[in-house]
């Protein structure tokens, strides 16, 4: 078993535009079992090597029983797609879409409360489990390797950076999860840390945070109290000027707690090994596992 391992790991794709189709191909190449696509006007057709397309999630679920939903639909339609997947009781929903209005995500967050679905993202690269050949998202196929380090990150491309450093040092990953850069997102650092703690395949955890918000501090508290496995953390945005938006809506420095220094302090206090520079993530893990 690894984290985020569902009954079947069958994946439904919603949103089959240029990017969605391209990335789905990559998922299939990695070995992911993509069982169906959903597209309102391409129902009845197939994509890739014969994956059937349905007009609605309900129909796709009835015909192909996916456990996982992967969303690429454009931002204006993302709320509806997420709700549609939740309403079909899909266990794990990964939303790659960026630019979803905050007010929409507030609704989603509230709607999820009494539902069975776990949401990952939005504005995230999804997750990958090298050992199981399961990839639900857009993490590049060729950088990962199977092993015992769990990676969790708010940033997409920076996750890849960390994975590359690990793989180059011969350190494989049990799973890598991008939880997304938006201020309101489904699965949090704490959720993933909990999963890694329970997961027998994971020996150590890499956590990549950013300036803005207080999620890293909440994670630090969790680590202090409940995570026994060693954690290496890196917080980026140390050189970002205050009050400026750095791309991710979540990465705004507002108030002291949002500062990189505050986050690093909290994590240090929780016994976390800090990679001062993003270039040192791999090395720090390497030293830790020696």
């Amino acid at each position: 078993m690894s984290i985020l391992n569902n009954d079947s790991n069958k994946v439904l794709i919603q949103g089959l535009g240029r990017d969605g189709s391209f990335q789905t191909e990559k998922c299939i190449q990695f070995g992911t079992q993509v069982v169906s696509g959903v597209h309102p006007t391409r129902a009845g057709k197939t994509f890739g090597e014969g994956v059937p397309i349905f007009g609605s999630v309900e129909e796709a679920v009835k015909a192909t029983s996916p456990d996982i939903g992967l969303i690429f639909v454009p931002a204006p339609f993302a709320l509806d797609a997420i709700v549609e997947q939740i309403d079909s009781d899909i266990r794990t929903v990964v939303c790659i879409t960026e630019g979803i209005p905050v007010s929409d995500m507030i609704k989603v967050n509230q709607y999820l409360k009494d539902k069975k679905t776990r949401l990952i993202g939005p504005n995230c690269p999804g997750y990958i489990i090298p050992e199981k050949n399961v990839k639900v998202g857009i993490i590049p196929n060729d950088i990962v390797s199977s092993g015992e380090v769990g990676v969790v990150s708010r940033s997409g491309t920076l996750t890849y950076e960390a994975i590359v450093q690990l793989t180059k040092l011969g350190i494989g990953q049990s799973a890598c999860v991008g939880i997304g850069g938006d201020p309101i997102h489904g699965t949090t650092f704490v959720d993933v840390l909990e999963m890694f703690e329970k997961d027998k395949n994971t020996r150590a955890i890499v956590m990549i945070g950013e300036i803005g918000g207080t999620n890293e501090q909440i994670a630090a508290n969790k680590i202090k109290d409940e995570i026994s496995k060693p954690v290496v953390a890196c917080i980026v945005g140390q050189t970002a000027p205050q009050g400026k938006r750095m791309g991710h809506a979540g990465a705004i420095v507002t108030g002291k707690s949002a500062l990189a220094s505050e986050k690093i302090e909290a994590l240090k206090n929780a016994g976390v090994t800090i990679a001062d520079s993003p270039t040192e993530i791999g090395l720090k893990v390497h030293n830790l596992l020696k």
């Binding site: 240029r18 990017d19 990335q23 931002a75 204006p76 790659i96 960026e98 630019g99 979803i100 209005p101 905050v102 007010s103 507030i106 609704k107 967050n109 509230q110 690269p125 857009i138 590049p140 950088i143 708010r154 940033s155 997409g156 491309t157 920076l158 996750t159 890849y160 950076e161 590359v164 450093q165 850069g181 201020p183 309101i184 990549i208 950013e210 300036i211 918000g213 207080t214 890196c234 980026v236 945005g237 140390q238 050189t239 970002a240 000027p241 009050g243 400026k244 938006r245 750095m246 791309g247 991710h248 809506a249 979540g250 990465a251 108030g255 001062d276 520079s277 993003p278 270039t279 040192e280």
Partner: protein
């Protein structure tokens, strides 16, 4: 998208929030004329997209037509640099002139999103007129917050509590409460990231008036408010920022830096800036080309970096995911063809189609040093600029 005060006050009026009588002037003559129409004491306010106008000389009290004209001619056409404008300057093309009122005391009211509570928050403070961050730091108890349930909306009982904490008497309480509900309606119906009234004034101890008005529409929600797009004032951005915005690039100019950065992904961009700084060099900008950049977008990003005279070295760090590196490489070569500027570049290319991308760049006449990864790039920056 930020609105000007006068635009925000137009919206306030539609929602029946009380504002002083005022007019927009684009010339000093108009300032004079409107003064005569308005009141014996007026305030002349520069319409720019930055807070802290008062301290920077962007707000002036005038008591005669001549003073109004003088203040107008002094402001219009000049640029303002406030403590909140982060080094940038904002041109004053429009003036808002409005009646000056007898203010008894000043409150602060704002509605924004609370990302931790995952809902809108109404913030009220008795310390209006001041910089609210300062108030938050020095007098945290003077800031009252009220959270809005996404299903129920703004609860009257919570507003009642908020108002009663100010203890201003029934009449003012009712006006304040009504102002809060109206401001929340604006926030909710226009998908705002901020509605701020600072100061919200008690005038002559008997009425509540919004002296200032700030509305920011959430950029990601603009697709639902296409009619508001026409309110966007391009003049408040410099050409580079505007170019970036039009090309959907996330770009911020950083003063005193020398390394121009082109990265995909906000986290990687910040990481790139961090290592640049650790290598002893300051980044000249933050630039995230985003997840799914086209050739044209990359070309524009390259041109933007090249147009910055402070840039001595360009650092490109792309990790192909949804972005394809070969597409990006073509964009860079295209950009170079147009700019013909041979600024030295350090390039890290990984992920989707990165090999094809390297070939494309190697076959160009750009001054390129390839780096394997981020640590390697950090070393190479030092080598290039360190000596």
């Amino acid at each position: 998208m930020q609105l000007h005060e006068y635009q925000a006050k137009d919206i306030f009026k539609k929602f029946e929030i009380v504002v002083p009588e005022g007019r927009v002037a684009v010339s000093s003559v108009e300032c004079k004329e409107y003064f005569e129409l308005l009141a014996k004491k007026c305030v002349i306010k520069a319409q720019i997209h930055a807070g802290g106008r008062g301290k920077a000389g962007g707000i002036k009290l005038v008591t005669s037509p001549q003073e109004a004209e003088d203040a107008g001619s002094q402001m219009l056409g000049s640029n303002l640099n406030t403590f909140q404008s982060a080094g940038g300057e904002f041109p004053i093309n429009k003036i808002y002139i409005e009646e000056a009122l007898n203010v008894t005391n000043e409150l602060y009211l704002a509605i924004t999103m609370d990302f931790e509570m995952k809902c809108p928050v109404v913030i009220l403070s008795t310390e209006g007129g001041m910089n609210i961050e300062e108030v938050a730091e020095k007098f945290p108890k003077k800031i009252i917050k009220l959270f809005v349930d996404p299903l129920i909306g703004l609860s009257p009982y919570k507003v009642r509590k908020l108002c009663s904490m100010l203890n201003m008497g029934k009449k003012l309480d009712e006006q304040l409460s009504s102002t809060i509900f109206k401001a929340y309606s604006i926030f909710d119906s226009l998908d705002c990231s901020l509605v701020e009234i600072n100061p919200l004034a008690v005038v002559e101890k008997e009425s509540i008036v919004a002296l200032d008005a700030k509305i920011t529409i959430e950029d990601d929600s603009m697709f639902r408010h296409k009619d508001l797009a026409k309110l966007f004032d391009e003049s408040q951005m410099n050409e580079t920022e505007l170019n970036a915005l039009k090309n959907d690039l996330s770009y911020i100019k950083l003063f005193e830096g020398q390394i121009g950065c082109m990265v995909n992904g906000a986290g990687l961009a910040m990481a790139t800036m961090d290592i640049t700084m650790k290598a002893g060099m300051a980044p000249a900008n933050f630039l995230d080309v985003g997840g799914s950049a086209s050739e044209d977008k990359i070309k524009e990003a390259y041109r933007i970096i090249c147009s910055d005279k402070d840039v001595r070295l360009i650092l490109v760090n792309l990790f192909g995911g949804i972005l394809r590196c070969d597409v990006a490489a073509k964009g860079i070569v295209d950009g170079h063809k147009e700019t013909r500027k041979k600024t030295p570049m350090i390039v890290v290319l990984r992920g989707t189609n990165s090999d094809e991308a390297k070939t494309i760049l190697q076959n160009s006449d750009l001054d390129i040093t390839f780096a394997r990864d981020l640590p390697d790039a950090a070393n190479k920056i030092q080598q290039k600029l360190g000596n």
